[in-house]
Symmetry: C3
C-alpha cells in the first residue's frame, strides 16, 4: 500500500520528494556525533553525582545522603519526563492516520533536544570559567524542560512537515530558547517557574510563525485525514491526562526547595481543576444539544496549568489560582471555537493542534498575571525573608522593589513573544528550501509517507470470521 500510495501521487503529477533515506539518517548521525564530541569537551558530573560526593559531604557538613538534590528533584523530574514523552507524544496522536508520526517524531526530537538543551543551557547558566566545563545535571536543569518549547511548536506543524524539518525546528528552537531564557531570567531577573513566558508563549508563537511562513494553500486536499477517529481520540486522552496530572510537578520542578515547591504544586493543581469545569461549560454551550467536543476536553482543560506557569510560586492565594483556571479555561475554549478558524481564513495560518489557544495565548496571559502578582507582593504577605527568597532579591537585585519586578516581568513576556515570532519566521524561511522532504499538500496528515504502516486493521479479521462461518456451516452439513 505504501508504494501504491506514492504511485498515486505520481499519477497526478503532484509528487514532492518525501524520500528521507539519506537526509534523516545523516542528520541523526551527524548531530548525535556532534553531541558526543561537545559533551566530551564540556560536560562533567557535578559534585552531587560525582564519586567525590563522599568527600564533598564531609567537607560541607552534610549529615545525610537525603540532602543530595536527587531526592528533592528526581520525583518531579520523572513526572516532567512523562509529560514530555507520553504527555506531548500522545496528545498529538488524535489524528486518524498520523498517530505514529505524532508520538514517534515527538520521541525523536525530544531525545535530540534534551541533549542539545543540556549544552545550550549549560553554556549560558553553569559554565565554570575556571575549568571551561559544565557541571551537570542537577535535575533542575535537565534537558526535558527546555525541549518543551520545540514540542509545542511541533503541535502547530503536526502532519505538514518531515522529520528532518522537525530536527531543524528543534535545533533552532532550543538555541533561541536558551538565549531568551538567559535574557529573561538572568538579565531581566524575572521569575518564571513553570515557563508561561519562556516555554509556552515563546514555543507557541515560534510554532505559529513557522506555520504561517509554511502556509499551504491547498491543504484542504488532505482534509479527509485531518480529523480523529474514536480510538485515536482515546489515545490522545492518555496524553491529556498525563499532562494534566503532572503539571503541578512541571510548575514546581525548578522552584525553591521547601515552601516554593510546595506552593507551586498547590496553585497549579487548583488552576487545572478549575479549567476543566469552564472548558466543559463553554464546550457544551457551543454545540447543538449541549454535546461536548473532544478537541476542547483534550486541550483547553490544560490551559490553567499554562497560565499558572509564572505565578505558581508566588503567593497568589488558592482562590486566585481558581480564578486563573476559570478564566483561561473559557479563553482557551473560545480560541478553539473562533480564533483557530479565523487564523486559518484571515491570517493564512494553519495550526493543527491549536497551539495558539493552548500555549501562546494562555502563556502570554500567564506572563502578565505573573507580572501583576509580583508587583502586588509585600512583606506583610511574604515575610521579609520570604520575599527575598521568592524573588531572589539578592546581590545586584537586592534593592529591587516588587513594583519594579512586576515591570520587568511584563518586559519578559514581550521578549519571549518577540523571540518566538522573529525566530519562527526565520526558521520558517529556512524550512521552505525544497530539500527537506516535506509532503505535498494532498499528502499531509498521513503516516504512509514516513512510516511502514501495517495492513489495514479490518481486512483480516472479518475474512477470518467469514471463513470460520463457512467452515462451520460445512461442518453442520
Amino acid at each position: 500500500m505504501g508504494n501504491c500510495c506514492n504511485s498515486v501521487v505520481n499519477f497526478f503529477g503532484r509528487q514532492k520528494n518525501t524520500n528521507v533515506r539519506v537526509s534523516l539518517p545523516a542528520v541523526c548521525f551527524v548531530w548525535q556525533i556532534a553531541m558526543i564530541v561537545l559533551f566530551g569537551v564540556f560536560i562533567r558530573y557535578d559534585e552531587e553525582s560525582d564519586a567525590h560526593w563522599v568527600e564533598f559531604k564531609q567537607e560541607n557538613n552534610i549529615t545525610s545522603d537525603i540532602e543530595n538534590d536527587f531526592y528533592f528533584r528526581y520525583p518531579s523530574f520523572q513526572d516532567v519526563h512523562v509529560m514530555i514523552f507520553v504527555g506531548f507524544g500522545f496528545l498529538m496522536t488524535f489524528l486518524k492516520r498520523y498517530s505514529f508520526g505524532g508520538v514517534g517524531f515527538n520521541f525523536l526530537i525530544a531525545s535530540f533536544g534534551l541533549q542539545w538543551a543540556l549544552l545550550m543551557q549549560g553554556w549560558f547558566h553553569s559554565l565554570d570559567p575556571a575549568t571551561g566545563k559544565i557541571y551537570i545535571v542537577n535535575w533542575r536543569n535537565a534537558g526535558d524542560f527546555c525541549c518543551a518549547g520545540s514540542l509545542i511548536a511541533y503541535g502547530a506543524l503536526l502532519g505538514k512537515v518531515s522529520p528532518v524539518q522537525l530536527m531543524v525546528v528543534t535545533l533552532f528552537g532550543i538555541t533561541l530558547f536558551a538565549v531568551e531564557e538567559y535574557i529573561i531570567l538572568d538579565l531581566l531577573h524575572c521569575k518564571d517557574a513553570g515557563g508561561s513566558m519562556v516555554i509556552h508563549a515563546f514555543g507557541g508563537y515560534y510554532g505559529l510563525a513557522i506555520s504561517w511562513v509554511l502556509y499551504r494553500p491547498n491543504l484542504h486536499q488532505s482534509k479527509r485525514l485531518n480529523g480523529s477517529v474514536y480510538h485515536s481520540d482515546m489515545f490522545a486522552m492518555i496524553g491529556t491526562l498525563f499532562l494534566w496530572m503532572f503539571w503541578p510537578s512541571f510548575n514546581s520542578a525548578i522552584t525553591d526547595h521547601g515552601d516554593g515547591q510546595h506552593r507551586a504544586a498547590i496553585n497549579t493543581y487548583l488552576a487545572l481543576a478549575s479549567s476543566v469545569l469552564t472548558t466543559v461549560a463553554i464546550s457544551s454551550m457551543s454545540q447543538k444539544r449541549g454535546k461536548l467536543d473532544m478537541v476542547h476536553i483534550q486541550n483547553a482543560t490544560l490551559a490553567g496549568g499554562v497560565a499558572m506557569g509564572t505565578a505558581a510560586e508566588f503567593m497568589i492565594t488558592p482562590y486566585g489560582s481558581l480564578i486563573v483556571g476559570f478564566c483561561t479555561g473559557i479563553i482557551s475554549t473560545f480560541g478553539y471555537l473562533f480564533v483557530t478558524p479565523c487564523l486559518e481564513n484571515s491570517l493564512k495560518l494553519q495550526d493543527t493542534c491549536g497551539v495558539h489557544n493552548l500555549h501562546a495565548a494562555p502563556g502570554m496571559l500567564g506572563g502578565f498575571i505573573g507580572a501583576i502578582v509580583a508587583a502586588a507582593a509585600s512583606e506583610s504577605v511574604y515575610s521579609k525573608e520570604g520575599l527575598i527568597n521568592t524573588f531572589d532579591f539578592e546581590g545586584e537585585f537586592a534593592n529591587r522593589s516588587p513594583g519594579t519586578q512586576g515591570g520587568f516581568q511584563a518586559a519578559g513576556v514581550c521578549v519571549a513573544i518577540a523571540f518566538g515570532l522573529v525566530g519562527g519566521a526565520i526558521v520558517g524561511f529556512i524550512l521552505r528550501f525544497p530539500i527537506w522532504g516535506d509532503p505535498a499538500d494532498d499528502n499531509c496528515f498521513d503516516d504512509e509517507v514516513y512510516w511502514e504502516v501495517p495492513e489495514e486493521e479490518e481486512t483480516i479479521p472479518p475474512v477470518l470470521e467469514y471463513n470460520n462461518h463457512m467452515i462451520h456451516k460445512h461442518q453442520d452439513m
Copy 2:
C-alpha cells in the same frame, strides 16, 4: 449521525430530552464560582506552603527543607492522582461506545469533586476556630482521596446518567463522605488508612443504592452497546494496571511517616499480587475450556487492594496480606459470575461496572478484617510506643484497649454502609426528577448522546484503499 440518532428516538416516540446545553454549563459555572467564593472566604496556605516557611523553619528548629511534608507526601500523592484520573477514568472505558463518557465525565466530576472535598474536609478536620480559616494543603488531605467514593458510585451508573446527574452525585457524595469520615475517624476514632470503610464500602453502597432507585426496566433495549470490543478492553487495562500498581501509594498516602507508610505499602503490594492469581484461577475455572474473561482480570485483581484498605498500616504480617488477597480475589470473581446477574434479576439493581464486587463487598470485608487485626494488636507485636503510634491512643483515647478499638472499627463499617445506602437512596430519588437530561432506556451506553463523536473509524480508510487500488490498476493498464 448525531442528529439522525436523535431523530430515531423521536420516530419511535420514546424521546427523553437529553439536551444539556443549558443545564450542564449552568451547573459548571455556578458551582465553580461558588468554589471560588468559598475558597476566598475559607482557604489559606498552611505554614509549609506559605512564604513564611523560612521563619517557621527557624522558629521550630527544622534544619532541612526536606522535612517539609511535601517531600514525604508528594510522590504518593501523584500516584493517587494518577489512580483517580487515569486509573478510574480508563477502567470505565471498556464499553464499546462509551469510552468518551467513561474517561471524560470522570475527569469532570473528579475536578469538581477535589475542590469541594478540600472545603468539606477542611470544615470538619482543619478549620482553625481562631481565624475561621482552613489551612491547606498538606498533601494528606488533598481532595483526590475524597473524590474516590463518588467515582466508585459512577461505576454503578456508567452509561445510564447524564453529566448533570453525575455532578449532583458528586456534590452529595462528597458531602456525605465528609460527614461519615468525621464520625468514623474522629468520633469513633477508627483507623482507615486506605479507606476500605470510608471510601470503598461507602462509595460502593452509595452507587448501588442510587442505581437501585434509578432502575430501568427496559435497559435491555441498549444491550447491543452494553459490552466491550477488543481495543476498548485494552484501554480499560490501562486503567486497571495504573490502579493496581499505585494502590500501595493509595493505602499508604495518609499513614504515619516512617514505618506506617512503609508497612502499608508492603502489605498492599502483597495482597494485590495474591489477588491476581486467585482471580485468574476462578475466571479460568468458570469458563468453557478454561478461557479467561477480561471483566474479571480488569476488576477482581484489584480487590486485594480494596480489602487491605483498613488493615494496611497494622501489623497484619506479610503472609496475612497474602491471605487477604487470596480470599478477596476469589470472592470478587464469584461476585462477577453470580452476584451481579442475581442483583439485576432479583433485586432490580443494574450495576454497570460491578462495583458491588470490586468495592462494596471487599470494602466491607476489609473493614471487618481491620477490626479483627486491631482487636488482636498487642504490645509484644507493636512495642509500647508503636501501639500508641499506630492507633493514636493519645489524648481522650489514651486508655482505649485494642479490643475496644476492634469493636469501634466494626461499628465504623456499619456507619459507612448505612451512610451509603440511605444517602444513595435519597440522592437517587432526587435524580428521578425529569429535569436532568438522562437518556432513554434504548439510548444508554452511547457517547452520541453527550459527545460529538467522529465519523466511523473504518468508513474512510477502506474507501481510500479501494480508490488507490483502482488508480493503481489504471496505471498498470
Copy 3:
C-alpha cells in the same frame, strides 16, 4: 466465535488440547497457597517497616523519619513497578490479536514472580541465621526487579505458549536468577546495578534457549496473525515509552544512596536519548524511501538502557554514556533487520519480540562495558573513598584492585549467559511434555485460544448506522 474457531481446528484434525480449565486454576491455587505457607514460615517485616521503628530510631540516633529507606527508594520502586506491569505488558501488545495475552499473562506471571522472588532472594541474601527469618522489604530487594528476567523470556515465547507454561518458565526463571545473581554479585563480587548481566543477558538467553527447544516447524501457518495493526502498534508504544522514561529509575533503584543513585540515573538518561537517534537513523536507512519501522522504534530505542545496566553507577562520564547508547542503538536495529531472520532460518529459533536484539546482545555488551569501565577505575577519578564506596572494596574484598574487578565482571557475564542457555534448554525440554495446553502451530498468536474475546469491533456500529439511515429515510418520506 470461540467455539467456532476451535471447531475449525477440529475439522482439520490438527487439534492440540488447549483446555487449561483444570491445569491453570490448579497451578494458580497450589502455588499461591505455597507462597502463603512459605511467607508464613520465613518472611517478617524488617526494622524499617515494623512498628518497632519508633524504638529502632531512638536506639540508632536517627533524627528524622525521612531517613527511613522508604523515602530513598519508594519513588524509584514505583517507576520500576510501572516498567514491569505497564512497560513490559504493553510492549507485548503489538500483535494484532494477542494483546490480551501480552498484557494479561505478563500481569499473571509478574504477580506470581514477585512473590517467589522475595523468597528466593531472601534465602540467598537476607536470611537471618539466628532466627531463620527473612526480613523484608526494603524496597531495594522488592520482587519486581527479579521478575524482569522471566518477563524478557516471555518476549521470545509470545503467542506460542500456554499460561501454564509461562508459570513454569517464571518459577524456574526466578530460581535460576536467584542462584546466578548470588554467584555473580556475592561470590564474584561483581557490581550490576541495572542488571545488564543478571537480568538482561540471563533473561534474554534463557528465553532464546527455551524458544529454540520449542521450535515450531509449521509456525508459518499462523503467519496471518503474526503482525501488528495500526492501533496495536500504538498500544505497544505505551509500553515502550514507559520503559524508556523510567529506565533511569531501574538502573538506579538499588545503587548506593547519594551520588551512586544520582549518577546511575544521569548515565542511563543520556544513553537512552542517544539510542533513539541511531535507531531512527538505521531504521530509515534500511527501508525504501527512508520510511521508519515501528518494530525498531518500539524496541531498539531501549537498547541504551539495557547496555548501561552494569556501568550506570560507575564514572563512565556523560559522553561515555552517549557513546554506549549510540553503538547499542545501531547494533540492536541491525539485529532486528538481519539477526532475527537469520536466527529463524539458520538456527531454527523463533523469537517473537526479538529479545535477542533488545536484551541478550545489549545485555552481554553491557556486561563487558561494565568490566572495561571497572578495570579503568582509579583513585584520581573516584577519590579514595569514592572508589571503595562504588565497588564495595570492603571486608574480604578490601584489597581487590580495579583491574581484578574488571576480570571478575567479565567472568560474571559468562556465568549469566551460561545460566541462561543451560537453564533455558532444560526448562524447554520440560515444556515439551504434552500436558501444558499449548496451542497448535496454526493456532498461535491468537487470543481466542485462552481468552473470551468480544465480538468483532466493527460488526455492530455499521449496522446501527445503516439502520439509522433507513429509518431516517422513512421519516423523510
